[in-house]
C-alpha cells in the first residue's frame, strides 16, 4: 500500500469549506482523481466513500501516534520526523509486505538442498502427522431443520452464518415439499443455499440428556450424536 496517494491528499485537504450542494465535496473529487491516476476506471460509486473512510482513519491514527512521539521527545509541535516515524511503525504493524528477495533466495537454497524424501509404498492415504491435519474437528455443522416437527411443510429460509458473505442469492424455485407432513424436507440443495449452518458447540438444547452430569462438558444435540451410542 503506497502512502503516496494519501500524502498527496493530506496536502490537498484544506480547512473544511462548505461544498456546493450540487457537486461532490472536494475530498471526494480528490479521491476520484487519485483513482483515475492509478488507472482504475470502473468502480462502484461507494468505493470513493470507502476509500475516504479508510483515509480518514489512517491519517487520524498516524497523527495521533505522531503527537505521542513528539510529546515523548518533549517537542512543542508535531513535525515531519514524528509523522515519518509514526508511518513507519504503523506500516510494519498492519501493512506487511512479503519477504525480500535475498531472504527468499536464502531459504530456497536451504530447502532445495535436501533431497526429495523417498515414498514409502503401501501406506494408505498419505497425510501429515495427525496434529498437522484437520481430521479431528471438535465441531460439526448441524442442520436447522431438526425442529420442524411442529411446522411441517414450512420451507425454512436458509441462513448462512459461517463466515461467508453470500453475494450469491439463493434462488429457491420454491421446491414445494413432496408431502406436507414430511419433516425432513429434502430440498434440492443445488437450488437453494445450504441448510446446514448452525454450529452447536455451546448450544444448550431444550432436551438435556439426563445422564450428562458434568456441567463443563459441551452439550451436544442428542438425536444422531454418535458419541452417545
Amino acid at each position: 500500500m503506497t502512502g503516496s496517494g494519501l500524502s498527496e491528499e493530506a496536502e490537498a485537504m484544506e480547512p473544511a469549506k462548505m461544498a456546493s450542494p450540487k457537486s461532490a465535496p472536494k475530498d471526494a473529487q480528490v479521491m476520484a482523481q487519485i483513482l483515475k491516476d492509478m488507472g482504475i476506471t470502473e468502480y462502484e460509486p461507494r468505493v470513493i466513500n470507502q476509500m475516504l473512510e479508510f483515509t480518514y482513519r489512517y491519517v487520524t491514527t498516524i497523527l495521533e501516534d505522531a503527537k505521542i512521539y513528539s510529546s515523548h521527545a518533549k517537542k512543542s509541535n508535531v513535525d515531519a520526523d514524528d509523522v515519518r516515524l509514526a508511518i513507519q511503525c504503523r506500516t510494519d504493524q498492519s501493512f506487511t509486505s512479503p519477504p525480500p528477495r535475498d531472504f527468499l533466495l536464502d531459504i530456497a537454497r536451504q530447502k532445495n538442498q535436501t533431497p526429495l524424501p523417498l515414498i514409502k509404498p503401501y501406506s494408505g492415504p498419505r497425510l501429515p502427522p495427525d496434529r498437522y491435519c484437520l481430521t479431528a474437528p471438535n465441531y460439526r455443522l448441524k442442520s436447522l431443520q431438526k425442529k420442524v416437527s411442529s411446522s411441517a411443510g414450512r420451507i425454512t429460509v436458509p441462513r448462512l452464518s459461517v463466515g461467508a458473505v453470500s453475494s450469491r442469492p439463493s434462488t429457491p424455485t420454491l421446491a414445494t415439499p413432496t408431502t406436507p407432513t414430511v419433516q425432513n424436507v429434502l430440498i434440492n440443495p443445488s437450488l437453494i443455499g445450504p441448510k446446514n449452518i448452525l454450529i452447536t458447540t455451546n448450544m444448550v438444547s431444550s432436551q438435556n440428556p439426563p445422564n450428562d452430569s458434568n456441567p463443563l462438558k459441551r452439550k451436544h444435540e442428542d438425536d444422531d450424536d454418535y458419541d452417545n451410542l
Binding site: G3, F95, I107, A108, K111, N112, S167, R168
Partner: protein
C-alpha cells in the same frame, strides 16, 4: 572490486581515457555492485535529464538497423535513473525527469509507469518489493555485436560518461553475433520486468520427454463389448498387449530417468484407471483442421462474478468451482451422484466380508449432485483434482492450501506456508506432489504427507500467478506478474528456463502432451508458444482481445484451445505451428528465431459465448472439448 573502481575514479583527472582500464567487458559484471550502488551518487542529479536526452538524441540519429535495438535502452535507463533520483531523495528532479520522458516509452510499459508515478518518495519504495527487486537486479538486454560497438564507442567518446556508468551499473547486455533485430522481433520478446533472458539462463539441459508408462495387458472385457454389440453375441478377442507409447525398449534421451524424482507406485485402482484410459483412447476422435472438436460449455449461473477457479477431473466425471465467498463446490457431471462414506457408527454395522463392501460403505442417503465444502476464509483462487480422484486441493486468499477428501467431503489438511494470497495450485500428474504459487513471489512444491514444502522456487520479481507441472512431473512452469515464465527443476529447485515476451501478467499455461512445448497466455491477449528443449519462442498467436485465462492442448496435441475474457474460445492448429521449425544450432545461438506471421493461418475457429468469459478448458479422453465459465450479465 566495485569499491576499488570507485577509488580509482576519484583520484584520476576526469577524462575519457580514464575508462580504458576500467572498462571491463560488460559481461563480467560482479553482482556485489548491486549492494553498493545504493550509496553511489551517479553524478549530479540535476544533469540526469541532460544525460538522458543526450542519449536519446544519439539513438534517434543512429542508423535504422541499429535504432530498434538501441531503443531498448530507453525504458530500463529511464526507470533506473528515476528510481535513483527518488532513492537519493531528489524529489523535484525526479518529478521533472518523469514528466519529461515518460511519454516516450513503449505502450506496453504503461502499467509499470503508472506504478512508478506513484512512487515519489524513498519511503514509498520500501514497501514495494517488486520495485526494490527491480532496482537491485540487472535488466537484461540482448543486442547484436555491431549495435553494441556503436553504443560503446559513443558513450566512451564523450567527456561525460555518466550514462556509461549507469549502463554498467544496472544493465546486463547480452551480446550475440548476428543480424541486428528488427523492431517487430524485439517487440515480440520484450516486455518483462527484468528485460529478456540471458542465453545462459536457457542453456541447461531439460528432460522434456515423457516417462515410460508401465506395460500391462488390456484385459478381455466381455461385459463391455456386449453392451456395445447390438447383436448380443459375445465376441472372442485375444488379450492385447499395451504397446502404446513404449514402442522401443530404448530410453528416450530426452526423457528423465524413471527414478529421477521419487514417484508414488501405482495402486490397483490406478491400474484400472489406466486401462479405462487406454480403452477410451482407442475410441478417441482424431482431431485436425478438418475435424474440429465439439465444444460443450458448462455455464455457472447466478455466480455474480464470484466464480474464481474451476477444475475438471481427467475422466470428466466431476467439476469443481472455487468461489469468492470462500466455498468450494463439487458437482457430478455424470448421472452418478456424489456419495460420501458412511459415518463410523454405520460402518461398524456392515458386513466386511461381503463382495460389494466398497459399495456398502458409501452412504446413499446423503448422495447428491452437489457437495459444498466450507473451510477457507477468503476467496478460493485455485482448485485441482488429484489424478486418482480421491483428493481435491484448493488455495485461497487466506494464504492456505487445503486438501479435501472426496470420499468423505471433509477437509483433511491445511498447508500453511505462504502467508499471503495463494493464486494457483495444481496436483502432479502422478499425484502425491502439488505446487502452489502466490503473492510472496515464490512457488512451493509440497507432498501431501509433509506439512512443510519440499522445494521453494524463488526468483520471480512479482507474484506467481500460475503454476503447472510438466507431464513427466520433473519440472514446474510458473507464470508471474513480472511477465516472465520460468521452468523449474523439481529435483534441485533450479530455474532452468526463463521465457520473456508477454506484456502482462501470465494467467494460463499448458504443456503439450508430448512434453516438448509450452503454451502461455496473459492479459495482453496473446498466446505464445515455446520450445522447451531449445529455450526459444517458436510461435505467437494473436487474436484474443482480452486476458487468456484458459489454455489446453487436445489429448494427442493436434489442437490448442484457448479461452479468454473476451467471451470466446479459439482453436489453433498445433501441428502446423510446431512443424518445420528452424531450430538448428546456428539460430539458437542468437537466442531467437524468426517468427512467421501466421496467426490467421493457424486459427481454426472462433466460438463466441453470449456473455460468459471462459475460465477453464478441458479435453475429455475422447477429445470432446469442455469449457466452463460464469455467466456475467454485463
Amino acid at each position: 572490486m566495485r569499491g576499488r573502481r570507485v577509488a580509482v575514479k576519484s583520484c584520476l583527472p576526469r577524462s575519457g581515457a580514464s575508462w580504458v582500464g576500467g572498462g571491463v567487458a560488460v559481461e563480467d559484471q560482479p553482482d556485489v555492485s548491486a549492494v553498493l550502488s545504493a550509496y553511489n551518487q551517479q553524478g549530479d542529479p540535476t544533469l540526469y535529464e541532460e544525460y538522458y536526452s543526450g542519449l536519446k538524441h544519439f539513438i534517434e540519429c543512429s542508423l535504422d538497423c541499429h535504432r530498434a535495438e538501441l531503443s531498448q535502452l530507453f525504458y530500463p535507463l529511464f526507470v533506473h535513473m528515476y528510481l535513483e533520483l527518488v532513492y537519493n531523495q531528489h524529489e523535484s528532479e525526479a518529478k521533472s525527469f518523469f514528466e519529461r520522458f515518460h511519454g516516450d516509452q513503449e505502450c506496453y510499459y504503461q502499467d509499470d509507469l503508472r506504478v512508478l508515478s506513484s512512487l515519489t518518495k524513498k519511503e514509498h519504495m520500501k514497501g514495494n518489493e517488486t520495485m526494490l527487486d527491480f532496482r537491485t537486479s540487472k535488466f537484461v538486454l540482448r543486442i547484436s555485436r555491431d549495435s553494441y560497438q556503436l553504443l560503446k564507442r559513443h558513450l566512451q567518446e564523450k567527456q561525460n560518461n555518466q550514462i556509461w556508468n549507469i549502463v554498467q551499473e544496472h544493465l546486463y547486455i547480452d551480446i550475440f553475433d548476428g543480424m541486428p533485430r528488427s523492431k517487430q522481433q524485439i517487440d515480440a520478446m520484450v516486455g518483462s520486468l527484468a528485460g529478456e533472458a540471458k542465453r545462459e539462463a536457457n542453456k541447461a539441459k531439460v528432460f522434456f520427454g515423457l516417462l515410460k508408462e508401465p506395460e500391462f495387458d488390456v484385459p478381455l472385457d466381455d461385459e463391455d463389448e456386449e453392451g456395445e454389440n447390438e447383436e448380443g453375441k459375445p465376441k472372442k478377442k485375444k488379450p492385447k498387449k499395451d504397446s502404446g507409447g513404449s514402442k522401443s525398449k530404448k530410453q528416450d534421451p530426452n526423457a528423465p530417468p524413471q527414478n529421477r524424482i521419487p514417484l508414488p507406485e501405482l495402486k490397483d485402482s490406478d491400474k484400472l484407471d489406466k486401462v479405462m484410459n487406454m480403452k477410451e483412447a482407442a475410441r478417441r476422435v482424431r482431431l485436425g483442421p478438418e475435424c474440429l472438436p465439439s465444444i460443450c460449455f458448462y455455464t455457472f449461473l447466478n455466480a455474480y462474478q464470484g466464480l474464481t477457479a474451476v477444475d475438471i477431473t481427467d475422466d470428466s466425471s466431476m467439476i469443481v468451482g472455487g468461489f469468492a465467498d470462500s466455498t468450494v463446490r463439487v458437482w457430478s457431471v455424470t448421472p452418478k451422484k456424489l456419495r460420501s462414506v458412511k459415518t463410523a457408527a454405520d460402518l461398524s454395522l456392515i458386513d466386511k466380508e461381503s463382495d460389494d463392501v466398497l459399495e456398502r460403505i458409501m452412504d446413499e442417503k446423503t448422495a447428491s449432485e452437489l457437495k459444498i465444502l466450507y473451510g477457507h476464509s477468503g476467496p478460493v483462487y485455485g482448485t485441482s483434482f488429484s489424478p486418482d480422484r480421491n483428493y481435491l486441493l484448493s488455495c485461497s486468499e487466506d494464504g492456505t492450501v487445503r486438501l479435501w477428501s472426496l470420499q468423505t467431503f471433509t477437509c483433511l489438511v491445511g498447508y500453511k506456508g505462504h502467508n499471503y494470497p495463494v493464486w494457483d495450485t495444481q496436483f502432479s500428474p502422478y499425484g502425491y506432489y502439488f505446487v502452489s504459487g502466490g503473492h510472496d513471489r515464490v512457488a512451493r512444491l509440497w507432498a501431501t504427507d509433509h506439512y512443510q514444502p519440499l522445494r521453494i522456487f524463488a526468483g520471480h520479481l512479482a507474484d506467481v500467478t500460475c503454476t503447472r507441472f510438466h507431464p513427466n512431473s520433473n519440472y514446474i512452469a510458473t507464470g508471474s506478474a513480472d511477465r516472465t515464465v520460468r521452468l523449474w527443476d523439481v529435483l534441485n529447485g533450479n530455474c532452468v528456463r526463463i521465457f520473456t515476451g508477454h506484456k502482462g501478467p501470465i494467467h494460463s499455461l499448458a504443456f503439450s502432451p508430448n512434453g516438448r512445448f509450452l503454451a502461455t497466455g496473459a492479459t495482453d491477449g496473446r498466446v505464445l508458444l515455446w520450445d522447451i528443449g531449445h529455450g526459444l519462442m517458436v510461435g505467437e498467436l494473436k487474436g484474443h482481445t482480452d486476458t487468456v485465462y484458459a489454455l489446453r492442448f487436445s489429448r494427442d496435441g493436434e489442437i490448442l484451445a484457448s479461452g479468454s475474457m473476451d467471451n470466446t474460445v479459439r482453436l489453433w492448429d498445433a501441428v502446423k505451428a510446431f512443424e518445420d521449425l528452424e531450430t538448428d544450432d546456428f539460430t539458437t545461438a542468437t537466442g531467437h528465431i524468426n517468427l512467421p506471421e501466421n496467426s490467421q493461418d493457424l486459427l481454426l475457429g472462433t466460438y463466441m459465448t453470449k456473455s460468459t468469459p471462459v475460465v477453464h478448458l478441458h479435453f475429455t479422453r475422447r477429445n470432446l472439448l469442455l469449457a466452463a465459465g460464469a455467466y456475467s450479465s454485463q
